[in-house]
Amino acid sequence: MSHARDPVWRFLLPSCVFVILFSLYPIAESFRLSFYRLILTLPWLGQRFVGWENYQDLGSDPVALSSLVTSLLFVAVTTPAEVLLGLAMALVLDRSFRGRGWLRAIVLVPWAIPTVVASQMWRFIFNDRYGLFNFLLFGDATEQYWAPLAEPGLALLSIMTADVWKTSSFAALIILAGLQTIPGELYEAANIDGATAWQKFRHITLPLIKPALLLALLFRTIDALKVFDLVFVMTQGGPADSTNVLQFYGYKKIFAEGMIGYGSTIAMVVFLLSVGLSLLYIRLLGARLLTQEARS
């Protein structure tokens, strides 16, 4: 068709402008700033090139190191939990029963709720004086009540719980889409052969939804690495930095303390971590898809 009359650039230019101004330029700028000392509260210092100094500082900053561990721990606990729960819910939603549409809509509710609202909700459930959590655990014995959000290990666990509740349904949807591509004849053939439910799951369902499972894992990992809203509302990174994940630490450095250079260094670490993890999954996923195509 006549490209002279409809040059391609006219269609792509608007999207490119946004992508360049608000994604590509900022990431390049963050990278550049991570080699500078720039502190907004000390403007007379100006912007000074310091080479790898920020990265070295990061290596000897105990809060940064514990943030890194907290972030990785958060990813390592929540993503498998979400994918497993998502798989369980997807298996239920894949059956045909009356009211399936309703159940699917209900499962979407946690996904649709603003994360900030979910955070306040769970903060109330974990309240030390009249939270539902304490009542379910200790009943009327108020003297035994815990303050989960004020105790280091429990605070992280509480945020993980809220995250699992909020995002398992997203994993369920992706896995459900995978389940629905499995042709019914496979199960019929297995029935004729007298396969048990477990054998069918193990040898038909699981291999065929592996790409969907990996995809759900990928999306949840990337997202869990970005956890911010829950931390901001439920604990502000406390107590004693025990829930101070990387994205929150970077936010505090840049926006609360004005340490643009050092904050950008933290930002680059989060960025590289998510790039690394994505590449790993894409490798796994790519290999899976290729072997699957070869088999079919």
Partner: protein, 270 residues
């Protein structure tokens, strides 16, 4: 027996998804003494005071109007720009179309903190901090990758014959897009629009750093920074949260089929 077991499983899934929010909803209708009662009061006395306080004292409707404006504008512009790009990627034979799509996918995975500082400084230089322009511009660029992916998938599934006939009759690509493709793709556009709207309505991180003056803040910022000095006003927070969430739950219940379709088009086919 097996049917009973399955019914139990269904109840469990529904309870897991709904119970925490229902508890918050019931809290919004409790009087202050009912909220702090031990053992907890299950059924509230339908006290509407917290809703009144959330709306009158905390100006919730103002936050709501800001959210509606920001999410609405984001959705309209994102879908318009996204449709243009997706049409070119789906129909023009561009050699690097695949690379552009992969770049977009990569961008959508960036952690917000990786771009937050420079975006803030850029908007500051433009004088766009604390403006609707600023937040909408940031949201458009965050939603574009998803919108372009989903719309490209939808456009590729549309039949090309009518369009080609129109092009032969002398339509430009732009006219073909406006008169033929967009009407045919309306369901896809709508699906993408719902998802972009929900994302913009719920977004918190950029709203927090770009909108620091209360007059322009959106609902998530208002709810996260809910003022409470010594005791948290849980009833008011629950009421404000309910008001912020109801439009979304309504959207989800009405359009669940489209949402599921859109999410899996964005995820699985992509």
């Amino acid at each position: 027996m097996r049917r009973l077991g399955f019914a139990l499983v269904i109840a469990l899934v529904a309870g897991f998804s709904l119970a925490p929010f229902l508890w918050f909803l019931l809290t919004s209708w409790k009087s202050p003494t009912e909220i702090s009662a031990i053992p907890p009061v299950l059924w509230p006395s339908f006290h509407w005071g917290h809703y009144g306080a959330a709306i009158v004292k905390h100006g919730l409707l103002g936050y709501m109007a800001n959210s509606a404006l920001v999410a609405g504008a984001t959705t309209l512009v994102t879908i318009a720009i996204g449709a243009l790009a997706a049409y070119a990627l789906a129909r023009f034979h561009i050699r690097w179309a695949g690379y552009y799509l992969i770049l977009l996918l990569a961008l959508s995975m960036f952690p917000q903190i990786a771009i937050a500082g420079p975006v803030w400084r850029l908007l500051s230089a433009l004088g766009w901090l604390n403006t609707y322009y600023g937040i909408v511009a940031a949201y458009i660029s965050m939603s574009l990758p998803f919108a372009i992916w989903v719309l490209t998938t939808f456009f590729r599934e549309l039949p090309v014959d009518v369009e080609e006939a129109a092009l032969i009759d002398g339509c430009t690509r732009g006219q073909a897009l406006r008169r033929i493709v967009l009407p045919l793709a309306a369901p896809g556009l709508f699906t993408a629009a719902i998802l972009v709207f929900i994302h913009a309505w719920n977004e918190f991180f950029f709203a927090l750093i770009i909108l620091t003056s209360p007059g322009v803040q959106t609902l998530p910022v208002g709810i996260a920074l809910f003022p409470g000095e010594y005791t948290m006003p849980w009833g008011e927070i629950a009421a404000a949260s309910t008001i912020a969430t109801l439009p979304l739950i309504a959207l989800t219940l009405i359009f669940q089929r489209r949402i599921v379709q859109g999410l899996s088009a964005g995820a699985v086919k992509g």
